[in-house]
Symmetry: C2
Subunit: 160 residues, 2 copies
């Protein structure tokens, strides 16, 4: 392999800022949600799409797709949340392999109580600090990063 193209000083700063922001921002949000509502970040993430589903019921496969989680991760998380009484599992009527995840009344109460403070925290840490123009550029740029990642991911070097 040829001499690697190391990051120059400017690039290293950009990359470090990205990593630091990710760590601090998500860490702060997670801590605040736990303090305010007793919900972990993972629990909150699961409850959001579930509370938007009709009747609070959604198939595990779809829930995982919306979250961008693999089956194993979701299965483990649902098991823990079932123990806490936030969700329940039911059989899927149209596909015997399937698992339907149901939001319990406890889960509904938890997400309803947690959401207002969470959105306020996201505003305070993120939207209130950035101009709309910056938000748009970030969205456009990150959309491109995501597109590139999914292109590469699907191109499973067919024989090369």
């Amino acid at each position: 392999m040829a001499e690697p193209r190391w990051l120059d000083g400017r690039e290293a700063l950009v990359w470090r800022r990205y990593l630091d922001t990710q760590r601090e921002l998500l860490g702060a949000l997670e801590r605040e949600t736990l303090r305010d509502s007793g919900l972990s970040g993972a629990e909150y993430a699961v409850l959001v799409p579930l509370s938007a589903a009709t009747d609070g019921v959604q198939r595990a496969r779809e829930l995982g797709a919306e979250l961008g989680w693999d089956r194993s991760r979701l299965s483990h998380q649902i098991r823990r949340m079932e123990k806490r009484g936030l969700v329940g599992r039911e059989e899927c009527e149209t596909d015997a392999r399937g698992s339907m995840i149901r939001l319990t009344s406890t889960g509904r109460a938890a997400i309803d109580a947690a959401a207002p403070a969470h959105v306020e925290n996201v505003r305070r840490h993120f939207f209130d600090v950035l101009t709309v123009e910056e938000q748009e550029i970030l969205s456009e740029a990150f959309g491109r990063v995501l597109t590139r990642l999914s292109e590469e991911g699907s191109t499973k070097d067919p024989c090369d």
Copy 2:
């Protein structure tokens, strides 16, 4: 509490793009580093500052500060890496509480082998997809987010 200011459609998209990018980008990098070099993301993160330290030795406190990790996280990680032979622990001569972390020759070889592929991956997924202007705006904006976060973190509401 008053009616929360929910995110509108545009804001929700920006926020979702940020979260999705974080998850996919860091996930891809971690997976690639593991495949290419057998190093986890956490191991790679520890080895980088350590390999830049004089003699490959650094006090745990400083290492943790550079990484933005708390003491516990670093201690657990060092213990696991010690088992793998990547680093060693030594006593600190100037402060009996302290712990000096030393990069072993195995650790040095591992980071030297892993770094070129890692920097290429960062370029491919991130820098090659963004214009320099976008990188600068992102760096500036995220710098502000970090500043705000650290201001709030240090302002421990002194009596309010």
